[in-house]
Every structure is written in C-alpha cells, then in structure tokens.
Amino acid sequence: MRSTLALAVAFALGLLSRPASAQRTAGGVEYATAGRLYLDAGARDGLAPGAVLALRRGEKAAGTCRVEVVSETHATCLGNGRPGDTFPLDARPEPAEATPARTGAGPLADAEAARRRRTLENATFEKVDFRGAARPTLLSGKTDVQLGYFTWAATGVGPWHQERLDAAVRGAPVGGGFSLFADLSARYWSTRSGPAVARPDDNWQLYVWEAELVRRPPSGLAVALGRIRPWVAPGATIVDGVQAGWRTKGNVEFGVFGGAVPDPSTTSPAFDRSTGGAYLAFQSVGDTHSTVRYAREEFRLAYVNSPELGRRLELEGLEQMSLGKIFDLGIQGRIAKPEFASTLLDSFSADLGFHPLEKFSLMGAFRFQGSSVPEADGPGVINLGGVTRHADVTARWDVVPWLNLAATSGMAEDPTGFSRRFAGPEIGLPRLFGEVGGASAGYLFEDGWSGGHTAWMQILTRRPRGLQCLLRVFWYRTRGLTALAEDELGASASLSAQLGPFVALRLTALGRAGGTPGTQPLAARSLLAGSFDLALAGRF
C-alpha cells in the first residue's frame, strides 16, 4: 500500500516538474533574503548567470536582480525583492544536445528505510551558535556627523550664510561598561547682513548639549557624568555634573543628580546657575495582548538657582500610558515654589491619542506655559514672559488605503491678549503614484489678531528606496498683521537621499513672493524671500 502511495506521489511530482508543453512566460520569487532572491525558474527556462531580470509586483515594476547561480529548475538572483514578485522569461534556448534520461534507483525497501531513519534519529551532534566577529567601535552606527550650509535672503536684505558641523554620538561603548553620549554643533556665520539679535558679536559659535559618559546596566548602579542631560528626570535641563541612580529588575530607577547649569544662550559653562535634586522613574511594558501595553512615570524634585528666576524648588511629573491599541496619553506638569513667592503652576501639557476604530483616530494636545519661563531676547535682555496656551485637535479617517481625510482645529494665546484660532480640512492620497508616493492638500481658516487663510498642496515620494522628495506649494492671506492684508505665494522642496550605507544628502529650498491685494499684487515680484540649506550627513 505504502509503495503504491509513494509511486503515486512520485508520479504527481514528476508531472509537476516536467517541462510544460507550453513554454513559460514568467517566473516567480519563491523566497527572499536581505540581498538574494530564490527563483522558481532555472536553465531550462532560459536563465543564465549574469542575466538581469526585471521584477514586477502586480502591475508595478519592483526593481531588478542579477542571476547568480543557475540549476536546471531553480536559480538565485542578487537584488532586492519579495516572495511573489514575478519576472518575464525569454524564449527557451534550444538544448545543445539531448541529455540522457535519468533513471533513479527504485524505492528503498521498508526495512532499509526504517534502518536509515533509526540511524539518523540516534545520531548525536552538537548544537552550534554562530557568533560573528566583533564590530569595530567606530562603525557601530552610533555616530552622526553632518556638514551643512544654510542661507537666508529677502528683498532689501543681503543674505545670511552659515556653515555648520553637527555631531552626535549616541551610546558608543568606551569600555568599563560606559558609553559615550555627545551632542554638539559648531557654526560659523560667514555673512550676517543687517542687525543680528543672536550673539551678534560671535561669528564662530559652539554649542555643546551633551558630552557624557554613561553606565546604565539593566539593573544596578547607573551613572552619568560630564555635561549630562539627566536621564529619566523629566524637565531637567542639561548640567555640568553627575547623576547616580539605582535600577532595579522591576524597572524602577531612583537617584540623584546635580551640577552647574550652562548659559541658556551660548551653552558655555556658567557658575551662577545650578541645580540639584532627586528623581524616581518607573516603566512597565506589557505584551501585545495586555491592556496596559506601556506605562511610564517619572518624577523630579530639584532645587534650581538662576539669575532670572532666583532660587526655587521644582517638582515635575511625567505620565505616559498606552491602553491597548486604543488610547495613548501623555501628561507632564511642573509646579515651582520660588524663594519669595507662593507655589505656582509652571507648565503643563497633555497629549491624547484615541483610536476607537482601526481607520479612525483622534489626536489632541494642550500646552500651558506659566509666567516664569525665561526667554533670552538678545544680549542682556531676558523676558520672563507670561502665560501662553496652545491647544489643537485633529481627527483623521483612513477611508481606504489610497484616501484619507482629516480635520484640524486649534488655538494659541499669549499673555498680552493676542490669540489666534484655526480650523480646516485636509485630504490625503498617499498612493496617488502607487508605491512611489502620494499627494495631499489642505486649507486653514484663521481667526484672531492676525486672521486669514492658508491653502497648500504637496507631493511626497519615497521611491526609489532611500530617496524621499517633498514638493509643496502654499498660499497665505493674512489680515490684521498690518494695516493692509498681505498675500504670499510660495513653494518649497525638500530632498533626502541615502547615498550609501553611511552617507545621506539632505536639501531644502523655500521661496516666497509677497504682495498686497489691490495695491501691490503678487505679480509685482517686488517682495521676495527664500532660504536654502544643504547638508551631507554621515553615520558611522
């Protein structure tokens, strides 16, 4: 019986593997790795090493691959693709000579097959674990370097030029369990025409936000020293000092931090500013079926001393929570007790994401900044400001994969009573150009101390892979800002190209023309402004 069944299966397989009477016109990708495709066609279908195959995904082109190794019925191909991709087959070459039919050995006897199976099952072998060679630290992918050029210009004002080098290191191991984190920017203003507000006498500027050695094991002593941005201490500014804490296996961390606070305008070390305090943090991550998929609570209690605000005690808290896939909440608030004043609410923000349906989401945010947020305003000028509020809400409906609709509304208010409100629709066609990209358009009606209208349209493409291109045109009409209404028409282009595994090119250009309806139309082209920036970014 089993012999009969085996024969039947062999016959069926033979039928399947037999050359079709009609020549195949297309082959397919059966399996894909990161750089190699496994094809269901081989030499008998006309494939030969070195041939370039044009892949298709449905009706769309999906790149090419180069045939690597060919067997009679299968082949491998170097390139990127997915299982299911197809490719056309050319005419089958005539065989050079008839190959003799292969005559396989007959089926094994049951006893022999059983003996061989037992031998295999009883064989002992060692498990192996592949461990590649250690990667060189300098190529760990944790270092970003960007060389940039920026320029701004407007009618009647000569251009501003800035050359700039930005560097960031995010956790490069340096030994002893420590990693290096750094974030800095060196800028040179080669041209600043007209009066400058920001550091007018410093054409060379160096900003250092982070230069810290960090040790943060999953549990145990956590240490950071240098110019640190205190970890899991919400709202903490950067300090030249140290942070030390203890991390438990239950994802709780507590500790202290302190040091001198750099100057807010230059980030240069300063000794008239300082902070010190304690922090407590907890994080919980559930599995994919948990109700609470993610929860994070952080608290900071700190003494802060600065020339603008004097000595104060600050308490800040952060709460983030994701409930299932439906609800995301983020709340952060800070209260302060100045030395000679009563306790006040310094800042508060709330972010809400609500996804009751798979294709519908509601996003909202509220921001409050209290009266004691200093804003440097030129050398020696510090505005302590006043209360500002901002709120917005956006509803989005992904109607079908190629169409989404959104509506947004919001308001912003500042202490002198100026406020603005806005609302408007948005439509997105993310697959207008298939896999290449899509387009979207929107409109905002604006009301308040400077009301008006905004309309825009943009195209975003993400193909070929590694290249992102954004083109946008916009029109503004602004009323109330001056005695007459202002019209502006502009366009911007942004391009990001990954030139290789380590290097990317980024470019942004913006141009706009202004006019006054009735007296100075846009077509006069007498009011023009623009900006341009180009950056070469490396990742090592």
Partner: protein, 260 residues
C-alpha cells in the same frame, strides 16, 4: 541545529534569517503596523526590542525610545516637527501658521534662533508676539537712519505703519485723514521729504503740524500764482495755505478741481 534566542516560538529561523549571515535579517516590519522608514530602517532589532523573543509590546510613541531635548515643552508628539529621515526640524514657516505668530514677510526668511534664543533647552516659547518686544532696538535705531521715533513720539505698535517685509516705506494710515498719501502721487515720499521736522509730531489726530513744506516740490512762481489769483487768502510762500484747501483725498481733489 541552532540555539534559538527567540523563545519557544523561535524555531522558524528561515522566516527572518538566511544561510548568508545571522545579522542580515529580512523581516517585513510593515505587517506589525509600524513600518520602518528612514533612519528606523537602519536600526538594529535590539535597539527597540529589549526582549529577543519579540513578545513584549514596544510602544510606538517616539518619546518611549527617544530622550526629550526640549525639556518637555512639546509633550510627546515629536512627529509635529521631526520625521524618520533625520532630527532636522521640518517645522517650517508653513507650520508656524498654527501658532500665535504667522511668519509672513521677512520673518519667514531669518534663522529660527534670531527669535528663539534659548539654545540650551531648545525651547521655542516666546514671551509675546508684540512687535516691540523684539524690535526695541530697531525702534531706537530708527533715529540714526530715518526718523527719530522716540523724539517724534511714535507709538510702539510697529505694525500700524510697517509691514513684515521691511521697515522702509512705512505707511501712516492716520495721515490720510488729513492729507492722503496712498494711493496717489504722494505715496512713497519719505516723511522728511515734506515735513521740515517730525520732532514732537505725536499723532494726535490734529492735522496742523505746521511742518509740511509743500513748496519744496511745488514751485511758487507762475503759473501757480496765476491759477490762484482769485483764491482768497492764497499766499504762495506759506505752505500751510496749500493743504488748507488741498487735503488731497481722492474725493476732495476731484471736488476742488471742479470748483476751480
């Protein structure tokens, strides 16, 4: 046989790995609902997934992985300004229209740090959108390049006269009540092109400043004198006498010409 680090479900090696290399993983992350775009596509799996068995949920909010350099000012919504390509801000003048201060004119073509000077905490909150808060120095500097705003007693509501493109060619809408400047042939003439002095010309609504000097441009000899020979009280060398009749609003000009 391989020792799997992915827990009990981790025996289907070929769904992600190939025989080429353990490190080169092919996994369609799009099916998880979090497509890896831009720089995320270059991240290592363990950079986000602390547990190798991938059964632990990874929060999709940016702030769960990325530290906040803005000290909480913008909450958890990084995507308002940043995308997956880089940390470079995409918050452009377009986006600025959703704040309390639309960037029009030259405001859209200056570096962000000219207004937002807090480099340390990278905050962007401004105290107020009132022009004078930023342009105090320009108000004072006007004395050296055009009109002494302080001496003239000009108000500090800059936008009453100036547009966001330039401080030059300031408009003075209140002037039209006395003597229309725009539209018309007097549009664009600098204040001191007509006025002998602006000191003390605090705009009060009163038209008589006694400083307008019409005959700088309008000559007095014939034929003007002949035209005005029947106008009672006409005195050529007293400019005030000109605008007592010629207020030069569009309607008044037509009317006066009709009476002539």
């Amino acid at each position: 046989m391989i020792v799997s680090g992915h827990g009990p479900k981790g025996t289907g090696c070929a769904s992600c790995h190939s025989t080429e290399n353990w490190r080169r993983v092919s996994f369609d992350h799009e099916q998880t609902g979090f497509p890896l775009r831009g720089r995320h596509s270059l991240a290592s799996c363990s950079g986000c997934h602390a547990s190798a068995d991938f059964s632990t949920a990874v929060p999709t909010s940016c702030s769960a992985c990325h530290r906040d350099v803005h000290t909480g000012e913008f909450g958890t919504r990084c995507a308002t300004c940043h995308d997956e390509e880089s940390w470079r801000s995409k918050f452009d003048p377009d986006a600025h229209r959703r704040t309390n201060f639309p960037l029009t004119g030259r405001h859209a073509a200056i570096p962000c740090e000219e207004c937002h000077l807090d480099q340390r905490d990278r905050r962007f909150t401004r105290a107020t959108v009132d022009c004078f808060t930023c342009h105090q120095a320009d108000y004072a500097r006007a004395a050296t390049i055009s009109i002494d705003h302080v001496a003239a007693g000009f108000p500090t509501t800059c936008r009453d006269c100036h547009n966001p493109w330039s401080f030059q060619s300031g408009r003075f809408p209140a002037h039209d009540a006395c003597f229309q400047l725009a539209p018309g042939p007097h549009a664009g003439i600098p204040c001191l092109g007509c006025h002998t002095s602006l000191t003390g010309t605090l705009p009060t609504g009163a038209c008589a400043t006694n400083t307008a000097d019409c005959i700088r441009c309008h000559s007095c000899p014939n034929p003007m004198t002949q035209v005005h020979q029947n106008v009672a009280g006409f005195q050529c060398f007293k400019p005030r006498k000109c605008y007592e009749c010629h207020q030069f609003t569009v309607t008044s000009l037509k009317r006066q010409r009709r009476f002539r």
